[in-house]
């Protein structure tokens, strides 16, 4: 049985990902992907939380 879900591991390369985002500064929607962030020479901090309308 193949396990298609890979989990990011410390010290290893994170697989590329793309994410739809709400951009408060533009009052609009956009997207972010890891490949572009890497190209821009940026560090990426992902901050997960359970749900909007709760504390984070």
């Amino acid at each position: 049985m193949s396990d298609e879900i890979t989990t990011a591991k410390i010290g290893q390369q994170v697989p590329d990902f793309e994410l739809t985002v709400y951009e408060p500064e533009n009052h609009g929607f956009g997207s972010r992907n890891l490949a572009d962030l890497k190209k821009a020479g940026k560090w990426t901090i992902l901050f997960f939380y359970p749900a909007d309308f709760t504390f984070v």
């Binding site: 879900i5 890979t6 989990t7 990011a8 591991k9 410390i10 010290g11 290893q12 390369q13 994170v14 697989p15 990902f17 994410l19 739809t20 985002v21 709400y22 951009e23 408060p24 500064e25 929607f29 956009g30 972010r32 890891l34 962030l37 890497k38 020479g41 940026k42 560090w43 990426t44 901090i45 992902l46 901050f47 997960f48 939380y49 359970p50 749900a51 909007d52 309308f53 504390f55 984070v56």
Partner: protein, 131 residues
């Protein structure tokens, strides 16, 4: 600081917009709010709770070359300390420049005491932290 902060929950971007508009605590928010309704990204980082369909409180720091440098996951109901996140982030920036040094637990910012692991430090960490 050459970093992009993206918050992520399994809510859609539309809910993010509504929350941002309603909640006064978010008045100053400038970072992008990521939508992961399928849980794909949450699963990639091991924070997806299959039972609830929600993401646990996880923080991940990825370097510009795509390496995962830091991971912190809290169970529900435990908030994170932003000062500690910033400490870890600054330490990562520092160590990316000086890979042969170590930032001990009390390291807070550039100029603070670092360690150089090596044979002379074996059994002498206490002394190394003093000077």
């Amino acid at each position: 600081m050459g970093a992009e902060l993206i918050t992520v929950s399994t809510d859609t971007e539309f809910v993010h917009l509504a929350w941002k508009r309603d909640e006064k605590e978010l008045a100053d928010v400038k970072y992008a709010m990521g939508a992961d309704p399928t849980g794909k990204l949450s699963r990639l980082f091991g924070v997806y709770d299959e039972g609830s369909g929600l993401a646990l409180r996880g923080t991940f720091i990825i370097s510009p070359d795509g390496t995962l440098f830091n991971s912190e996951v809290n169970f529900y109901n435990m908030g994170r300390n932003i000062d500690e996140l910033m400490r870890k982030f600054k330490a990562n920036l520092y160590l990316a420049r000086k890979a042969d040094e170590g930032c001990p637990s009390k390291w807070k910012d550039d100029g603070d005491k670092t360690l150089r692991p090596g044979p002379e430090m074996v059994g002498r960490v206490h002394e190394a932290l003093q000077d």
